[in-house]
Structure formats: C-alpha cells, structure tokens
Homo-oligomer: 511 residues x 2
Amino acid sequence: MPPLGLLHMRAWASLFNRLLRPSGVVCIREVHFHSQGQMSLQVSEAVLTSQLKPQHEKSNFIIKTPKGTRDLSPQQMVVREKILDLVIGCFKRHGAKRLDTPAFELKEMLTEKYGEDSGLIYDLKDQGGELLSLRYDLTVPFARYLAMNKVKKMKRYHVGKVWRRESPTIVQGRYREFCQCDFDIAGQFDPMIPDAECLKIMCEILSGLQLGDFLIKVNDRRILDGMLAVCGVPESKFHAICSSIDKLDKISWNDVRHEMVARKGLAPEVADRIGDYIQCHGGVSLVEEMFQDSILSQNKQAIEGLGDLKLLFEYLTLFGIAEKISFDLSLARGLDYYTGVIYEAVLLQTPAQAEESLNVGSVAAGGRYDGLVGMFDPKGHKVPCVGFSIGVERIFAIVEQRMKTSGQKIRTTETQVFVATPQKNFLHERLKLISELWDAGIKAELLYKNNPKLLTQLHYCEHMGIPLAVIIGEQELKEGVIKLRSVASREEVAIKRENLVAEIQKRLSES
Amino acid sequence: MPPLGLLHMRAWASLFNRLLRPSGVVCIREVHFHSQGQMSLQVSEAVLTSQLKPQHEKSNFIIKTPKGTRDLSPQQMVVREKILDLVIGCFKRHGAKRLDTPAFELKEMLTEKYGEDSGLIYDLKDQGGELLSLRYDLTVPFARYLAMNKVKKMKRYHVGKVWRRESPTIVQGRYREFCQCDFDIAGQFDPMIPDAECLKIMCEILSGLQLGDFLIKVNDRRILDGMLAVCGVPESKFHAICSSIDKLDKISWNDVRHEMVARKGLAPEVADRIGDYIQCHGGVSLVEEMFQDSILSQNKQAIEGLGDLKLLFEYLTLFGIAEKISFDLSLARGLDYYTGVIYEAVLLQTPAQAEESLNVGSVAAGGRYDGLVGMFDPKGHKVPCVGFSIGVERIFAIVEQRMKTSGQKIRTTETQVFVATPQKNFLHERLKLISELWDAGIKAELLYKNNPKLLTQLHYCEHMGIPLAVIIGEQELKEGVIKLRSVASREEVAIKRENLVAEIQKRLSES
C-alpha cells in the first residue's frame, strides 16, 4: 500500500481516531502495516468492549431542555403573541411580504459571513449527505434567497428562531435558541429613502410597545473607516479596533484604550485621536460639524458617509423622528457585512424598579449591507440591502417582568362560555349543548367528568377568568330554557334555548 | 483479547463499518487478530485516500436549500397563515393553551420513542457539551414537558416545525422540514370524553377548510392486539404484523398477505383469519357485531377496546359527527407509543381534476398514549394523554394547487393606500404625507425614488392590488387638498387634507 504507507504510523492512529470520533471510539494507539494491504491497530480493549454494550441501559437521566434553551409556557406565549402581533402589524403597515426559510442551511452558505462569531454556529452531524448548519440569523438566509431566485427588489419580514452556541448568561436574557424579527428592503433605489423608513419602523415599534424612552444611535461604516484612517490606524487593524470600540457600552474608555494600545498594538497618540472622535454624539448639527472637521473631511469615504447621514436626517425630520436619533461616532456594529449606515436602538431607562436587574442593552439594530447578496451570486451581481432585526427576546423579558411586578393576571385561554350542570347524569345534555356552541363559533369548555360538582365547575370559571357560564338541569330541560350566568357578578337569567347563541354573542360583543 | 476474540471476524468488520459510518468510511473488508492485542483490517485504499483531501476546497458551489427543504414564498406564506389561523382558531375555541419547546432536545429524550423510524432523526454535531437531536414530532417534547414540570393536566396546542431525514419524494408533498399542528389533552378523566372532543375538533377543522368530503377511521390498539392474538399471532410478532397491516392503503391485501407469510413467517391460515377481520369497517353497528364475535369476544383486551369504542360512538352521535367516523379494523398506526383508541382522517375525493396528481393520503392522525409521559418520569408516574396532529403541509399543497388551478391572484401585502405625485421634486411632501398615514395606522407605500413617473406609480397600485391612491401635487398643496383615487374605478375626488385620514378609514371600513 505505497500511498498510504507514506503516512507515519502515529499519523494513521490520529487519522483513525478522528474518523472514529463521531462514534465515540477514540482508542487507537498504534497502527502497523503488513504485506498485502493489511493493517493492524493497537486498540484499547476496555473502550471497545464498552461500545459493544447495549446503549439502551437508561441510567437515571435528568429531564431537561438542552443548555441555553427553554420551553415557553402558555403565559409566556400569550405575552409573545401580543408583542409579535404588534411588530408584524407594523411590518405590514409598511407593505412588507412575509418569507420563511429552512432552519438549517448548507454549511458553506454560512461561512465567511460572521467573522469571529462563526464558532458559535451549530453544525448538524454528518449522517451521510450534505453538511448542514442551523441558521445563525435571518439576514444571510434572506441574501441567499435573493441570490438563488435572482430577486432584485423585495421588502420582506421574517419572524423565526435562530441558534447560537453562546455561553448562556441567562440572567441577561441571552439564550442559545431565540426569536428574531427581521425587516429588510432589497433593491437599487434613490439614496437613504429605504434607510429612513427602517428607522421610522423601529420608532413605531418601540413607541407602540411602550417600553419607555429610547434612542437610536446612528453611524456609518464609511465614516468609521475614514475616522480610523485619518487617526492613523493601518487598514489591516480596522476590524480589530472596531471590535474594541464596540465594547464601549460595557467597559470604560480607559479600558478600551488600554486594549487598543497594549493588546492591539496601537500607538497611544493614535488611540487618543480615536478617543476624541468617538466621544462625539449629537444630532444633525454634529454631521455639519464633522463636515467642517479639517482632518476627517480629507477622507473621501468619510465625506460620502457624512453626505448620506445629512440626507438621512432630512428625511427623519419629515417623519417627525429626528429627535429620537443620535449620530454617535462610537457605534461600531460587529458583523462583517455592513457597508454603509448602521444603527442600534437602546432603551434609555429601565421602566420600573424591579426591572433594574434586567440589563437589556440594545433592543434592535441593523444597517446597510450592499455586498452580501453578491457573495452568493456566481457572477457577483450585487443587490443593495438595508434592514434591521428586533431583539424580541429582550423585549419579552421586559414585558414579562413588568407583568409580574404589577401582579397582572394573564389569561392563557380565550374561553368565553363554560357549560355546567348542577345535576348528576347530565353529560349527554352538556355534550349536546357545548357542541351547539362550538358550531356557532363560540369558545366553550366543560369538565371531562360524568358527574362534576356544581361548585367545582363554577370555581373553574372564576379561576380561568371565563366570563359566562351556561347551566342546564332537569328543570331547565323541561322548560326549554338555559340559565346564563355572568361569572363576575354571579347574576343568572333564564334564556330560551333557541335564543341562547344569539344572547351569548350579544353579551360577548358588548364586553 | 479473549472477550473480543469471541466475535467472528466478519462480525468485527461489520461492527467497525457501523462505527465508521458517520464519518462516511465503510470500507473495511476483513479483520484479523494478532497476538498482543493487535488487530488488522483489510481496507479499501481508494476510499481512505479520499478522506485525506481537504474539505475546504470551495468549488463553484450551487446556491440551494438543503435536500428536502425549501423556502416559503410570500404567496405560500399567505396561504399558510390563512390555514393556520383557522386551525388555531379552532384549538382556541376548545380552550387550548399554546406551548412552545426548543427545536432540539437531548438526544436521549428521543430514543426508544419511534421504533424503526429512529434512524430518521437529525442529530447535531458533537461540538462539545450535550448530545442533541432535532425534534421528530411535537408529541414527545410535550410528554417531556409534562414530566419535567410535573404537570398532571393540560390542554395545549403547538404549531411548529419538525425534522425527519426521510428520502424526500417531494411530488407527494413530503419534506424533511415540515410544519405540524398538534392538539393534546393530558390528564386523568372519565373515559372517552376528551377522545371524543379530539375527533370533534378534527371534524371542525376539516369541514372549515373545505377540503371536500372526508372520513375518520377509528380503531383501538387493544382491539388490534386482541384480534392478532385470537388469530394466532405470537405476541413477539405483533409489531411486525401491525406494520404490514399499516401498508394496506398502499398495497393490496394479497401483497400484504404474502409479506406476512413469506417474510414474517405467519402460517397461511393465520394470515387468512387476519384478512377476514381487517376487511371489516363500518359504524357503531360493527362495534356491536364484534362484541358478538365468538372468537374476538374471548379476548379481554379486545372487549375493553370495544367497550370504549361503543362509548365513543355515543358521544360522537351527540356531537353530530358519528357519520363521519368509520370503525376500521385495518387501521394500525405505526408509532410505538399508542395504547388505546387510534384514528386517522382521510380525504375521500380529490376536489378537482388538476389535483389528481396530489396523493395526499391521511391529513390528520392521532390516538391515546397513556404511557409516554411515564417513560420520562424517574418514578414512572403516568399521565394519560390523547391527541392528534394535523399534516398541514398536505393541506397547504392542496389549497395552493386549487388556487393555481382557479387562477386566483393572491395579494402578498396588505397595503391600503399608495402615496403618489405627478410632480418632480415632491419627495418631501410625499414623505410627510405617508408619515401621517402610518401614524394613523393606515397601511401605506410609496416608491423609493425622488422623481417617479405618475404612470409607474399608478401601475404599481394596480399590479399590487392596492385599493386607494392619494395624489399630491403643487395645485393640491396650494389648495390644501389631496386627491383620493379609487384604483379599480379610477375615480378621483379632492379631499381636504385635514379630513383625509378619516375619509380613508371610512372608505376602508366600507369595502
């Protein structure tokens, strides 16, 4: 076996161990070659025998969800649906279409899109066939969709789960599985009109959710790059320095400066020049000021970015949201694919005392990425895109916390009418009655018991917040009536059976 | 190596191939043992060298979604949302709460739940940490949730994706990623009341979706087992024979009989006895008939099952759906975990000619599984459950096909008003105007161009099915009015600017 024999024995052992790892066997110590294509492996007997044991031996395992994930209870689902309805309602108000993509993509679709974060991608096991990964965000699948279907223009939203193998710090609301709501506008248009609409939508959603005061920081990748260039940062270090700047909302400028100088090799005076710029934030007047900046204005890229920001502020003023937007030179979004304006929405106050423990940080962010679609296109055809993603998990956490604090009770069902009886052996009548209600579109429940006690049935209504109860007994059956009870007031009236549905619908429409 | 040496050489080769399969290497032909714990493998050189090539070589890759998966276009999403709204509306009408669980579970949670189908589970790559698998259905995660949270009683629904590594025969609407809608009732109740409600809900949904006539086949695991026992099938072959019976809707009785005799070793007269039973189907009268069957009535299990079915039919009659239900002794659902009544809904007619190519088979199925929760509970505490799953993908396919055939145009946006101008340099006025509409909750769009042509704008409205257009030009600005245009009739009226929102809302509420 000449070509194989070229490998050193230890290399062979290592190769076999690598191949065997998916099956859990990593036990080969030595490999020897014999004549006639034979090969011998020095194996560890103990490990191999353990493989032969039936895997069905169920040790006392712990029932849990995977690390960093969780079930969502009916209470949580009610809060989520309310929030998502508002978010989706806003996307639809702006004419967006809905899209859905598979939970996993070909692994190669996700490579070289996320920079340092690529290590957080979940891969699927190679079970024969394609190499797959769970999606990491909804932006890359959107770009893949556009390139694959040669779509040149699209306004779409996407609500779905994404997965990241982050070290979960669950207290801060970070999970390995979480929901994102994305809105993006793809297509070649006149400058900054779609960008301004994205910011308008973010404002509408954050106002609508009543999360308290908020601010959207805006910057531009070209201004950032231009600023680094004029400060004297070599281009090769742009990414590393950006990721240091990105930490400014978590650590102080002194610590960021130290990182830049000590760990990333920047000259102290270069770091100080950056420091002067990135402490600047303000409205459109700061854009004007930067235009006048004798150093920055020498950079062509920066001037382009500033020109676009000026136009953006013009449109934001027409939309009546300019005072919510802050041009902030310290904003440096981490993802590789941004090419122009970038933005990030932050809540300015924790709305109530009990929520102070919630470190929510940014609740929505996005920007312009004109090159991503081209990365998928065989001929590199570009489709300019701008959009944003709402970190709804953080918003869910705030709203849940607020409800807990206020002691507000959340109904997890929508049942309108409960079918009860004071009598024994009345199951058949109850079933006939509830069937009539269901067929009339009324949300109704009964207890799955042949002979439940009346008190148990009425308690159930009160406990579940069901507004109405209909009560049927022998007397009512004889008279052709049903008792309709308001659960809250405990008032009861007799209603002719044939008028019951109409009366219930009337009561429900009034409440 | 005495314990290992006990295995035959060929068994060793087979074991190694099995272990190596996940890495794609299945090339070991012979294994020989040597002294001192050495072992030699006869390998295929070609296959091993192919493993050594770097996998990072990105050839000119094809942009696609993973095998068996697909993107859902805005058109498809509209159809889906309509169907899901109806399904969820029905679940809510019956008092169900919504639950959500992670897309993946600990691998061990899914083992021994799906019988032969376990091989279709997607595993995640071991990237350090827990061994995970994508969920295969929504039933097992529900049972895990109940056991984990010690919930003894719950009526819940769950709409979500599940993943199965099936060989995709996409023509028949089978995908590796697909959506399921599950409804289940957990808890100890009086017999057959929740079971009857499940069948009622299935009927409501299938009627509501207007898919044409349908039938729900019902059987009981205990009747099935009892029938096999009295026919002379040894208990060890129950599973194998059930899976043969399960094929009756795809292949003829003769072929099933042949499989039972030739492949599964049943005596021909035993197979014939089974054949006599499983051709029986009918209403409640068949239940009575089986009670009288001198042979079947000797089996205690079968009598229990028949007693429950009799009660079930009583309740179904009260619900007015008995004629939709057929007691069918050939129904034998494949999954391991069913313990009592089982059912499956089938469409009786392909609703239109063009849909004949769609082989939809069953569109909903379920049953009682009283032991599944106990499999997760350390002490084996049982929580009886009954429920069903709607195969919504098949329903989506039918409705999509029907819409295609009818040539019905689907609006993928909900935009109500388009903001247009006949004038150049009117972007600022358009932006101010659309902002007013958005803030009033009106769904509105404009073109992202500084100077679009009026004709282009009006064409866009017609193309997208937007009912109203508001037109602003210099004349209107001067007079403080806006032109409101009905896109369909092309009628235009001038409206005072301050009355515009009210007038639009009036028009929209009328249509």
